[in-house]
Symmetry: C2
């Protein structure tokens, strides 16, 4: 498994990225990493570690798409940016996957332009794992597509279902459509039309699900357009952080509370870990003709390491081949 890692993407690149790569290479035996970025800077970071014997190489890229740049214009001007070079490595079969903590929009546009989409898929979708009371569920799309048509949501559902089956090993994933009520008639024009399409598939479609179902474990794959998905994702992340912050503030208000918190520290740590998105590795860009895993711009080392693991799993389990089969099976 050879992964092209965007060494320049993210708020703390290339330091954190290189560190994550080394940790992953030490832990995952079959992994090879190509660090794509400014050779000088990457080498300087590498010099901090003992890397002898690790399957690691560098491919130079002279440009970087910054986090706040507009993807389309940035990529037009920066043909030698790390994300473009990484995408071309996959195109030329010199790598099987891309991992990037850089500008999400740029990763999407670069992979879509260079690699194209899978047969039967019009638009790629970002899928994230979101913790619920018993485990995790998949939420897709969380940002790639803001204005969608029913057939796009149908394609997201099929791809999310394949992800759940092949990577999460759920035999018959429960697929739900994010809406404002359980009943078929509840929703907006987009979800009502999508409902009818999903009901005709061979998926285990359980109908509409609501915001509250995201965390109660009643659904494995939650389908929505990227506008809603992005807002739900950021709302959830932020609320989890805010609650933890408020609890911390309350708990340090007096001595007894502090002592109590110290004794039950393990419980807080466990909760924090459950809601730490870094634990889950990156989010796949489903539907790209190639594997691309993206992570937060502020992703820590652990997230980069886990994203490399997830990239390996997508290659190993041939997720893309399974998506193509699934789309054909549903005759869409």
């Amino acid at each position: 498994m050879r992964v092209a890692l965007d060494a320049m993407g993210g708020d703390r690149a290339p330091g954190i990225i290189v560190e994550g790569a080394i940790q992953a290479l030490r832990e995952y035996r079959d992994l090879e990493v190509i660090l794509v970025g400014d050779e000088k800077k990457v080498k300087r970071e590498l010099s901090k570690y003992r890397i002898k014997g690790l399957p690691l190489s560098i491919i130079h890229a002279s440009q970087v798409v910054e986090m706040d740049e507009l993807p389309t214009s940035a990529l037009r001007e920066k043909k030698d940016s790390s994300i473009m070079v990484a995408a071309r490595l996959v195109k030329e079969r010199k790598a099987q996957a891309i991992v990037s903590a850089g500008n999400t929009g740029a990763a999407m546009v670069a992979t879509k332009v260079v690699l194209g989409t899978l047969e039967g898929i019009e638009r790629p979708a970002i899928a994230i794992l979101t913790p619920h009371i018993y485990g995790v569920s998949i939420l897709t799309d969380v940002g790639a597509n803001v204005d969608c048509k029913p057939q796009h949501l149908l394609q997201f559902a099929i791809m999310g279902n394949t992800y759940a089956k092949e990577i999460l090993r759920i035999e018959k994933p429960k697929v739900g459509l994010l809406s404002v009520g359980k009943e078929k008639i509840k929703g907006n024009e987009l979800t009502k039309a999508t409902y009818d399409l999903l009901a005709k598939t061979s998926l285990n479609f359980i109908g509409n699900v609501e915001g509250r179902d995201i965390f109660n474990g009643s659904v494995d794959v939650i389908v929505c357009d990227g506008f809603i998905g992005n807002i739900v994702l950021k709302t959830g992340e932020s609320l989890a952080e805010t609650m933890q912050g408020m609890l911390k503030k309350e708990i340090t208000k007096n001595f007894l509370r502090k002592l109590g918190a110290l004794l039950s520290m393990g419980a807080y740590r466990a909760l924090k870990k459950r809601f730490d998105y870094s634990e889950y590795g990156g989010a796949p860009l489903l539907g790209i003709n190639g594997v691309c895993i993206i992570t937060h711009g502020g992703a820590p080392t652990l997230a980069i390491k886990n994203a490399l693991r997830v990239a390996g799993e997508f290659i190993n389990h041939k997720v893309n081949a399974h998506i193509i089969e699934a789309v054909k099976r549903e005759k869409i």
Copy 2:
């Protein structure tokens, strides 16, 4: 201040409703309550309390719209339902406000049909208070309108702004448009068109806000369509509950943790209270020509009491007159 209280609405009506009314009447001096519903059942509940001297009356309504009924057809068939009778009391100036924990859709349709909307307002919107790290912000619409046009969102913004000024006493509320990025160009077709309209108003429009801004206190009024708002609301409520449940589970895993939790109990209670929607009273249906405050179907006594308080505040502060003025000022 005379409020028509839907005594039959909600999962535990009329028991909880009557109890909430009595608590409110004992605490808020200027309040008068008309209990609207099955006279026999309401009287049976009232017989459990000492109510002598409380400004309380009953108006009989022979029917109830159930929680899972379709609003439009239910109201067509149930002209004598408690919510319809309550709306007519406001129409006939026998009451100034309605409070209902019943079917939200039915409350919306009944008030809209019987009372109509305020001058310049095409669609009423539900506005809720949502806790953030320093206080509360207003999120609107959270469910009344699934498919919206830009001018509807503009009207929601004006109404939310008036709510923040008159009830929350914020002098120049920061109004934000819920989207997927700060930049003007980020968003879907609806938000991009709405952005341009909001920028032309005299509101303190701070531009797009993201899911993460709901809880960080950076915005006072968050504007979105009812589909998104409803999903965000339910996601938030459910995540808060789930995190509290997970923490409880972790904390009872061993003796030391339990002891610790006992010592810092005050901190948990404070957090729970901050995220308990019952504390904030009901949600106003903004834009109705009359005051209507709705609450959760499962609302406890405290929520009913607080909803009656909020109804009183809306009457006292003449929120509707201020909305009409504000709409005129913006020349929409």
